[in-house]
């Protein structure tokens, strides 16, 4: 007996229509088109907890690449190696390290059909350098003096000083001069472009409703080939529990989740849990100006007394790694020999030898001063609060009394010079990034840079040599030495590296994560979503 091919489905539609009619009578209509069956694998809905402030690379959107709407001159591959994107090849560098020359691919165009030339590249970087434009990307381009476009296919960057990580800064998305060229200064902060940009990337913006979702459509004319996933929706769901519930309900195909909430999906055969290594670390900044935290013996004792393994197990649910310095364990530059176990007796000996004697209540005292200080953390950050409390109890064991205070950043800022602070940061792209700003004495007390006024001549020298040296072998040596110098004179007590956890439906191949930075914008395993391919659609067809 033959059934018409769609009879079952038609019955479903009929039922859906009946239900829909009933609901409509009650004042609500069902969504008939999607009621038929499983969602196609050519669309994806991703639940994330953070929403970009804007989609303009000039204002800092996805400045480290994987912008989806834009391409940089270069891009990162899965191992964070630099590969050509809009540029035809990696840049040619002059012998003095001051000039970087990029040659563009032929026939590049923006999604509106207009050609993308070196003039657009130069425009993008010049706009960021313009001091009247309110953007923090300018800090990243501090080494850049000027940019020239001698012909439509060539871009020449001239630096103020040799800066080896410069090519990493050219993953920034290129914006069209013909759209933004008429705007100047602060007007760029409210350009329509910020919410509905035109770029050259694999996707274009379909709609963006702030606080709700961002819908991207595949760019059929993408120079790298049209993506297989035609529609990508980022749903902005701030509440972690809601995100997990909506993922379980099938409303989302993928989501970023805290480790504990991801556990319920661990045995799910239809979904994969990705635990992604990051360069995102947490640590306690110990200000030099405070007589207790400024004492080298105290800083070294804290480093020995902190039980990082317990923090990873107890607070991070095992999804993290102990941190001993600002270079992540996943980096080839990581100095593994600095790893050490918790050793409270050694810490106590060190304090005894330095003259910190146990006094009343087991709190150590030196020259009439009790080993007591305050540790601040940003209120509302539960992870940092838990780490701060664990740190306090570890310190208590060796006779150091720490009180914790959760405050807003605006209240923390004026106190950073005298009080310890639980900080979180880190970028995997180059060891110079973030570390130079955090540990170099020339930036002490400049806004949020080096807030504890850390000063160490050999750290300064290594940071400076690292950013001016292009030879990879020499750089490896320098950054190894930097980690050792920071361990010998700890500016921070480094605590843990985090893992970011994601759950993704098994509907696609090509899913794989990069080592990730401190989260922002749309960072996640969807960095290369334009290359994901729907699995042979066996189960999903009706």
């Amino acid at each position: 007996m033959h059934y018409p091919p769609f009879s079952g489905r038609r019955r479903g539609v009929l039922a859906a229509t009946l239900v829909g009619a009933t609901l409509a009578a009650a004042g609500c209509a069902g969504s008939a088109p999607s009621a038929g069956g499983a969602k196609g694998a050519h669309t994806i809905v991703i639940g994330v907890g953070q929403e970009p402030d804007s989609l303009s690379p000039i204002l800092g959107y996805s400045k480290d690449g994987a912008a989806k709407l834009f391409d940089g001159l270069l891009a990162h591959d899965a191992d964070l190696g630099l590969v050509p994107a809009l540029a035809r090849a990696l840049p040619e560098v002059s012998a003095d390290g001051l000039t970087y020359t990029y040659r563009l691919r032929d026939r590049l165009s923006f999604s509106d059909g207009r050609p993308l030339t070196s003039a657009d590249v130069a425009f993008t970087y010049r706009t960021i350098l313009d001091p009247t434009v309110p953007t923090t990307v300018r800090s990243d381009l501090a080494a850049l003096d000027r940019v020239a476009a001698p012909d439509p296919g060539t871009v020449v960057f001239t630096l103020k000083y040799p800066y080896a990580p410069f090519p990493q800064r050219t993953t920034l998305g290129i914006v069209p001069e013909h759209v933004l060229g008429t705007l100047t200064g602060p007007a760029l902060t409210t350009a329509e472009f910020n919410r509905k940009p035109i770029g050259s990337g694999p996707y274009t913006v379909d709609t963006w409703r702030a606080g709700e979702k961002l819908v991207l459509k595949a760019n059929p004319n993408y120079w790298g080939g049209e993506p297989a996933i035609k529609q990508v929706t980022f749903a902005f769901i701030l509440d972690d529990n809601t995100r997990a519930t909506r993922l379980a309900a099938g409303d989302l195909d993928a989501a970023a989740l805290p480790p504990k909430l991801a556990e319920r999906f661990a045995k799910d055969r239809t979904r994969s849990t990705l635990k992604v290594d990051t360069a995102d670390y947490r640590g306690v900044m110990l200000p030099s100006g405070n007589p207790v935290t400024g004492d080298l013996a105290v800083r070294k004792a804290l480093d020995l007394a902190v039980d990082r393994g317990a923090m990873v197990r107890g607070i991070l649910n095992g999804d993290g790694a102990p941190a001993f310095g600002p270079v992540a364990p996943s980096s080839p530059l990581y100095a593994r020999e600095l790893e050490h176990a918790v050793d409270a007796p050694a810490a106590e000996r060190l304090l005894d030898e330095a003259g910190w004697r146990k006094g009343d209540g087991g709190i150590r005292v030196k020259d009439g001063r009790a080993a007591r200080f305050t540790l601040l953390y940003p209120a509302g950050d539960a992870l940092r609060k838990d780490l701060a409390l664990a740190y306090v109890s570890d310190a208590k064991r060796i006779g150091i009394d720490i009180s914790v205070e959760g405050l807003t950043w605006d209240a923390i800022e004026p106190r950073m010079r005298a009080d310890a602070l639980l900080m979180g940061q880190g970028a995997p792209y180059d060891p110079d990034f973030v570390s130079y700003e955090t540990f170099h004495s020339s930036l002490a007390g400049q806004a949020f840079n080096n807030p504890g006024h850390y000063r160490n001549a050999s750290v300064d020298a290594l940071l400076t040599e690292g950013r001016t040296t292009r030879d990879p072998a020499r750089r490896a040596q320098v950054y190894g030495d930097l980690q050792r110098a920071l361990a010998a004179d700890p500016a921070w007590t480094f605590l843990t590296y985090l893992k970011h956890v994601y759950v993704v439906d098994n509907d696609w191949t090509g899913v794989g994560a990069q080592v990730e930075p401190h989260p922002h914008d749309l960072v996640g395993p969807w960095w290369n979503i334009e290359k994901w391919v729907p699995r042979a659609a066996s189960a999903t067809t009706s």
């Binding site: 609901l23 409509a24 009650a26 004042g27 609500c28 209509a29 069902g30 969504s31 008939a32 999607s34 969602k39 809905v45 402030d53 804007s54 303009s56 204002l59 800092g60 001091p131 009247t132 434009v133 309110p134 923090t136 300018r138 800090s139 990243d140 501090a142 200064g185 602060p186 902060t189 409210t190 329509e192 910020n194 919410r195 379909d206 709609t207 702030a210 606080g211 709700e212 979702k213 819908v215 459509k217 529609q231 929706t233 749903a235 809601t242 519930t245 409303d251 807003t408 950043w409 605006d410 209240a411 800022e413 940061q425 973030v434 700003e437 400049q446 806004a447 949020f448 840079n449 922002h520």
Partner: protein
């Protein structure tokens, strides 16, 4: 023949003149009130410890150079004293330029333009639901004062009056979206939908509008009930009953008519409650209206946006109050129109 009509005309004219004086006086006072409100928002912003530049820069503030942050401060105009900021904001606002939303990176006028419609839709649907529901329940309760129904309705209304709106909203999401899976939990359309269609918006409107309506219900029900009970004791109602008219006719034709008039005139004074209700409902249901933008603007310390939205809310309250006074004055000649 003409004399009695002339007297009545004279009285009506006096009344209308009184009303126009009231309206004129209120309209003249409105700009002053609005001006004071904008000044207050700027002053509060300046007095708060929050740094708009750090808010604008977000996480990038931690690695940005001090010089960079100062340039941004100048670019945003946040380096000037707040009175100067307010003055130039005012100058721009009078020419129709409401400034730039720092958190949404778009002009404030555009933020309001895109969102106001959704708020008006939500609030008006909720308001109609409240009116209808409030009237029905109020009549049911007043019909048999002290009866089982009356006690149930009154008890439920006092409980609702005490229940916070966000609590109601979260409960509704839990029950109807998560447990029963009948209605979407939030947003304007389904997560996977890329276009806004009427049926999608309709389905997504049900829960927030119902929650907002229910949260406003107690005042309406209790007010209608009270004035109906009072009206039922009035002489013309007793007279109607004495003439042997049906209970239904007495209640709806006679008692309700006299009970409704003062009630309808007071609707305008409900605007502040509606606005605060919408703030919470829009936030819980991710409804993309101006009320949820107000919460975002406050959390992000986006003072240009916050100022404009506060002005909008103040204007709505002023208009509601004025409407209430005018209607009340028209309905009840005993009320003095001293504005």
């Amino acid at each position: 023949m003409g004399a009695p009509g002339g007297v009545r005309d004279h009285v009506v004219n006096l009344r209308l003149r009184g009303l126009s004086v009231l309206v004129a006086r209120r309209l003249a006072a409105a700009p002053v009130v609005l001006l004071a409100v904008t000044f207050l928002v700027f002053a509060l912003g300046a007095a708060s410890p929050f740094d708009p530049v750090r808010q604008y820069a977000g996480d990038a503030a931690f690695t940005a150079s001090a010089r960079n942050l100062e340039q941004i401060r100048a670019g945003l105009g946040a380096d000037r004293p707040f009175v100067a900021q307010w003055w130039s904001w005012l100058g721009d606002a009078l020419t129709g330029d409401l400034g730039a939303s720092r958190s949404l990176r778009m002009p404030v006028g555009q933020v309001i333009g895109e969102r106001l419609g959704w708020t008006v839709l939500l609030v008006s649907v909720a308001f109609v639901l409240t009116l209808v529901g409030g009237m029905a329940l109020g009549i049911l309760a007043a019909r048999r004062r002290g009866g089982v129904l009356d006690r149930c309705v009154t008890g439920a209304m006092y409980t609702l009056e005490a229940a916070p709106v966000f609590w109601l909203a979260l409960g509704a999401v839990w029950l109807f979206a998560l447990r029963l899976d009948l209605l979407p939990a939030g947003g304007l359309t389904d997560t996977s939908a890329s276009v806004v269609t009427a049926d999608q918006v309709g389905a997504h409107l049900v829960l927030p509008a119902a929650v907002l309506a229910v949260s406003q219900l107690p005042w309406f029900v209790l007010y209608i009930r009270q004035s109906l009970i009072a009206a039922l004791a009035e002489e013309h109602v007793l007279g109607a009953r004495a003439r042997g008219l049906r209970e239904r006719t007495v209640l709806l034709r006679h008692a309700l008519r006299s009970a409704l008039l003062p009630f309808l005139t007071l609707l305008g004074s409900r605007v502040p409650e509606l606005i605060t209700g919408a703030l919470l409902v829009e936030t819980v249901f991710s409804w993309p209206g101006v009320a949820s933008a107000t919460v975002q603007a406050a959390l992000a310390l986006d003072f240009p946006l916050l100022t404009a939205l506060t002005v909008l809310a103040t204007a709505a309250v002023l208009i509601g109050n004025l409407a209430a006074d005018v209607l009340y004055g028209l309905a009840d000649p005993r009320v003095a129109l001293d504005g």
